[in-house]
Symmetry: C2
Subunit: 340 residues, 2 copies
């Protein structure tokens, strides 16, 4: 299978690495070969080579401060939409930055790929949170896959578990800890650190960005809740249509007070049906110690899926990370490969 | 797809119920139809009807104390192996009782079905714990599926998550609480009940059998550990080749003592690689409060899967139950239906 990688930052480079490392395994155990024929990145330029790009060369070039146009193949340096549609490939992996207001340019890239008869894998929350319905219909009409395991809880099996398994169990609600940075901050605050100190710690560890708004104001969790509402309940609203509160108003005192009552404050994202309406929200909640979500510490994420048929199922795992996100992409590529 | 149900106890009846309830959903949403053409049970007799058995009639007959031979169709009342092989069906669902020493008669039934060109779904731990390698090769050689989601943690997505997703993430160890009865007993003992009282409570609630050996001596967890060792690490040993200790020697004092050290005693089943050797064991272990397994209370089960690529993923969910197990079977039937 010929693959385009659009976006070659942390996740894109992680995908190149995992494809290199697992090349023999995939060929031997799965009978699959993924041949990267195009890479494009807004900052790093692009390269196209129908016979296949040397991924070691591409990674070394970037690691040593170079540009993708220096890699063996045809150079690309403009907007990739035209290139995507004309490229000879079976799947595009879209890993550009998330914009929750416009979902662009990712959505245009995805439409170009689907028009070019390519399956699409994305780790980008924007297009799935804002345009899931359109894009999944567009893909289905062309007999193509549109997969996005990496958008929620990175490589932890979650979206695929819902879509391929629990979707038929009559899901009533999903509720969880969908942002590792804020969960880390709350965990440290419970140990006695102030919000400011805990935030600084999380920035030192690389969990929180220098501009931490998307995490601490709940927007990242909100994007994931929107994705879940779209996939599970067929919602079609924009993330900012749902109520969203972050952790900026939570104090260390609040955390200590509820702890004495056998509870823990967590930033909870959830979506559920109320009559015929899809509801969703993000905000701090007091969770009883006996609930599986209460024990989720540090940068881990977790989601409890409440169903008619199998009761409560909780999945706990990493919510971010280069390797983890790359594995999410690989799982989607293998799912596509398995259907060829 | 035409389906045979072999074993019509709690789980078998649950499967009939879920197929009835979800008939419209499956037709409309999945484009799938499961038509039960044969039911056989050692105690309740059997019926075969190539046009399809009326499942309402079969359930009502059994609920009112009747026998399957009274149900509209051709009566069956002998050993079903010959019948299985000749029956006109695409899938056999095997749900007879578990025998961990011989895995019979289940293994013979499964071989008969594979020889008769049927896919096989089972909820029976015996054949998968003892004969996974043979049976999976037998199935693969005939281009057939051999699926068993319901054998470990009933309908909680677990076996499918491992086989379809995490299997490529370089799994190093799996470790978990695989028996709900003993977890319930330990949870109650931690609250102050004696072992004997907690056991009686679990019998009242229907968790533990009148003969509770298979649970309290760890054999049920051992069977599940063997299944995981077979599927993940390609082990080919019998369950009783692995060290196994139950909870009969755990005292309320032990539980209270370790609680003061921030730990909880859990009956832990695990399997891992040591060099080229597959290791596995079942026994009580002290689990730190901070580990996701420590918070798993009552009759819930959980498994932590430690991988190279996605770190630690923990799945928590029900470990037993009629509806839950029936959903596990349905998920396997849908997986087969999706590939037709």
């Amino acid at each position: 299978m010929r693959v385009l990688l659009i976006g070659f930052g942390t996740v894109g480079q992680g995908v190149a690495e995992i494809l290199l490392e697992k090349r023999d395994y995939l060929a031997k155990e799965k009978g699959m070969e993924f041949n990267v024929v195009g890479i494009f990145d807004k900052e790093l330029g692009g390269v196209y080579r129908p016979q296949g790009i040397n991924l070691e060369e591409a990674l070394e070039t970037i690691h040593s401060g170079g540009n993708l146009t220096q890699v063996h193949g045809e150079s690309l340096d403009e907007d990739p939409s035209g290139f995507i549609q004309k490229a000879e490939a079976e799947v595009m992996v879209e890993m550009t930055y998330t914009d929750l207001k416009t979902a662009q340019p990712a959505t245009s890239y995805i439409r170009a790929a689907l028009d070019g008869n390519m399956h699409v894998v994305t780790t980008n929350k924007g297009p799935v949170a804002l345009n899931y319905k359109d894009l999944s219909i567009h893909a289905a009409e062309n007999g193509l896959e549109f997969l996005f395991e990496g958008t929620v809880m990175s490589g932890t099996p979650l979206i695929s578990v819902i879509q391929e398994n629990l979707i038929s169990s009559h899901i009533r609600e999903v509720k969880g800890i969908l942002n590792g940075t804020t969960n880390y901050i709350l965990s440290r605050m419970e140990e006695g650190l102030s919000y400011q100190k805990a935030l600084e710690k999380s920035q030192e560890l690389g969990y929180a960005e220098a501009q931490p708004e998307a995490d601490v104001r709940g927007w990242d969790a909100l994007a994931k809740v929107s994705i879940l509402a779209n996939v599970i309940f067929g919602a079609n609203r924009k993330p900012f249509d749902y109520p969203c509160e972050g952790i900026t108003e939570v104090s260390a005192n609040d955390l200590i007070r509820v702890k004495d009552q056998g509870k823990r404050i967590k930033l909870i994202g959830k979506t559920w049906m109320e009559g015929n309406f899809v509801k969703a929200s993000v905000g701090p909640e007091e969770i009883d110690f006996t609930h599986p979500l209460a024990g989720v510490k540090g940068a881990f994420n977790a989601l409890t899926i409440t169903t008619e048929d199998v009761g409560e199922v909780t999945i706990v795992g990493p919510g971010a990370g280069q390797r983890e996100s790359a594995y999410g992409v690989l799982r989607d590529l293998m799912a596509i490969g398995g259907k060829q």
